[in-house]
């Protein structure tokens, strides 16, 4: 389970690094908004697992102050939808400080936050804002789609001297993938091919990965071979790895839960145009969240990409 995988990485790190602290709200006895922290509070106590007042901006500000002093902290923002409240600290302080201090300061800190795009909690609790973070130089942006990657990427994040935004799709928390007990790290900037194929490439991010795999499976039954690749980190981004897949399949579809306009798909597509234009047999397609505030209730399923939309788009792409 992705929830458990992230918990394990953080727990192991905290056992070996007596200074690391967790900041946020509901991270103590409650175990985190979506339960990622399990019993870390019981293990490490209130000084290191610090439930605090509800103030996202200052919570991230505090994390920056700790990081300046060499104390790594992990901030949980309860939903990525609340990240705008803390964005000044993330963007104007954390992302730039190493640069504008001429390298005197590093900021070892992680902001973890769930993307809750697939639960139907309404317009203020369903956004997927990774494109905003990817836009800002100075941030590492990590967005795993399964438990194995989540643990390896979190382990890497926990060694970074730079601020990391770690985006976890809540829908994936309880998905089952095998996760080794032992320590392993997954380097940032290396995409992962989740399914090999030759007729088209689907670049899928976060919550859309399971849907893309289902779509690939469905098309396989029709004799179509679809490669599914997950960038895993958006910053750094594995432009070369994705382009290699495109050079093989000559067709690409990009899918994510976030709003379409100015989403990550556009950036990936443009990078493909810049690196592998001559290999494109058809325009790169996007299947993304619709450009509407995500409504509450069942209607939200009309907004986020599902297997059916991806399959239909792939058929069109291959046509």
């Amino acid at each position: 389970m992705m929830r458990k995988a992230i918990n394990e990485a953080i727990g192991e790190h905290m056992r070996g690094n007596a200074e690391t602290v967790l900041l946020g709200q509901d991270i103590g006895p409650y175990g985190g908004t979506f339960g990622v922290y399990g019993s870390l509070f019981e293990e490490f106590g209130p000084e290191r697992v610090r439930d605090g007042p509800l103030c996202e901006s200052s919570t991230v500000g505090f994390a920056i102050g700790l990081a300046m002093m060499g104390i790594r902290s992990i901030v949980e923002l309860e939903f990525v939808d609340f990240a705008p409240l803390a964005l000044d600290q993330i963007v104007n302080q954390a992302a730039k400080m190493h640069y504008f201090c001429g390298g005197q300061i590093t900021l070892p800190m992680i902001v973890r936050t769930p993307i809750v795009s697939r639960i139907g909690m309404g317009p203020q609790h369903s956004q997927s804002l990774e494109a905003w973070f990817m836009h800002i130089p100075g941030l590492r942006v990590v967005i795993p789609s399964n438990a194995y990657d989540a643990k390896g990427l979190m382990n890497t994040a926990l060694r970074e001297p730079n601020p990391v935004i770690f985006l976890e799709n809540a829908k994936l928390y309880s998905t089952q993938t095998e996760v080794p007990e032992e320590h392993y790290e997954i380097p940032f900037g290396k995409a992962r091919t989740l399914r090999e194929g030759s007729d088209a490439t689907v670049v899928a991010i976060s919550g859309t990965v399971p849907e893309a795999l289902l779509a690939a499976q469905e098309l396989w039954q029709d004799g179509v071979s679809v490669e599914v690749i997950d960038p895993r980190t958006l910053s750094p981004f594995d432009t070369e790895g994705i382009a290699a897949s495109l050079r093989k399949t000559n067709r690409m579809l990009i899918t994510h839960d976030a709003y379409q306009t100015c989403g990550v798909a556009a950036e990936i597509s443009q990078r493909m145009m810049e690196t592998a234009f001559d290999y494109l047999d058809a325009p790169i397609m996007r299947v993304t969240g619709l450009d509407v505030p995500v409504p509450s209730g069942p209607l939200h399923t009309a907004v986020v990409p599902d297997r059916a939309r991806i399959t239909a788009a792939l058929r069109a792409l291959l046509h």
Binding site: I119, S296, L299
Partner: protein, 346 residues
């Protein structure tokens, strides 16, 4: 709580009592519908806190304006929103007050002066400040009441708004429903002093603490704050101490609260407490039973209405992102329905 004829009449008392029961039944039904999968996402009951919304809204006029949080079903019903369209909204039905787009966290009914319940903690506080500023600019005499929790009282916008409201003497009543918890964080871990009302004093505006489970005490406090606001004396912060229901919401993904603590609200339950004081003041058990029956029936009908209402058509998901160019500005020009709130009836 001592009930005297001076402070409040029989008719009002029964109305307050019945409205608290409507809210209680409404929330119980919402929990039931959630457990049946008819409400998506979550729903945040205000069970145990009914005295605040009812006491406060009974002290307002129907033309006054209110804003609240996701835990604002009580405020909506106390300000006069029809239980039918509120319940239909919880079930994200096309007949809901927000056409089913908002759901449980986003009730809005401009006809009743409910300018929205909100899912972002504290974000509606400056918005309420702006609403109050509009009333001041227009000299409309309207008061704006903004309800929020103890958790919200840690967010910067709460303080920013107090500063502006005190500076500009806005007709704003800030009502903090201090129920002891922000999800799992107790006020002892979130507030630097025992009384949130202290914060107001630092801004040079009045801050009062009242027993939030005493419907008449809340009413009195809001009556005087609203009167001050209407007289141009500016804002007041009213901290209503109350006790939260079992847990934060119907859907809670964190560890369960200790079962004994979860039932603590029952000891302070404002409804039996008010019932007793009504009986003590001479009202008949039959009158109370009748109020309860009516409340239960009102909510039963609301549930029936909601459950039988259609969900929005998936094709309509694109509609309404932008208002058409000719739509009137703000809430102006939109027709008022008669509300069934407590306001002004007294």
């Amino acid at each position: 709580m001592i009930l005297t004829e001076q402070s409040v009449g029989t008719q009002l008392s029964l109305s307050l009592y019945q409205r608290m029961l409507v809210i209680r039944r409404f929330e119980e039904s919402a929990l039931d519908l959630f457990s049946k999968g008819l409400i998506t996402g979550s729903t945040h009951p205000c069970i145990g806190q009914e005295a605040i919304s009812v006491g406060a809204c009974s002290a307002l006029k129907s033309t006054d304006l209110v804003l609240a949080t996701y835990r604002g079903h009580g405020v909506a019903l106390a300000k006069g929103v029809d239980a039918k369209i509120a319940m239909a909204e919880l079930l994200t039905r096309e007949t809901g007050c927000c056409k089913g787009r908002g759901g449980s966290m986003h009730l809005c009914d401009i006809a009743c002066g409910l300018l929205g319940t909100n899912g972002i903690v504290a974000a509606h506080i400056p918005i309420a400040g702006g609403v109050a500023l509009a009333a001041q600019l227009r000299r409309s005499g309207q008061v704006t009441a903004c309800f929020f929790g103890d958790g919200a009282a840690c967010e910067g916008e709460f303080f920013e708004t107090m500063n502006m409201a005190a500076l500009w003497k806005l007709p704003l009543v800030l009502i903090c429903e201090n129920n002891g918890w922000a999800i799992s964080v107790p006020v002892s871990k979130s507030q630097s002093t025992p009384d949130i009302a202290d914060r107001a004093k630092g801004f040079g505006m009045p801050g009062v603490t009242v027993d939030g489970n005493d419907v008449l005490a809340v009413r009195e406090a809001v009556l005087s704050a609203a009167a001050a606001a209407r007289q141009g004396e500016g804002p007041t912060l009213i901290e209503c101490k109350t006790v939260r229901w079992e847990r934060h919401s119907a859907f809670s993904s964190g560890k369960p609260v200790d079962p004994e603590a979860a039932q603590r609200w029952r000891k302070a339950d404002p409804i039996p407490r008010f019932a007793q004081s009504l009986l003590d003041a001479g009202l008949s058990r039959a009158a109370l039973d009748e109020a309860e029956r009516e409340a239960t029936e009102e909510v039963r009908q609301a549930v029936e209405f909601a459950v039988n209402s259609p969900l929005p058509d998936a094709a309509s998901v694109h509609e309404g992102v932008f208002a058409p160019p000719d739509q009137p500005l703000g809430i102006s020009g939109l027709k008022k329905r008669p509300g069934n709130g407590l306001a002004e009836s007294f």
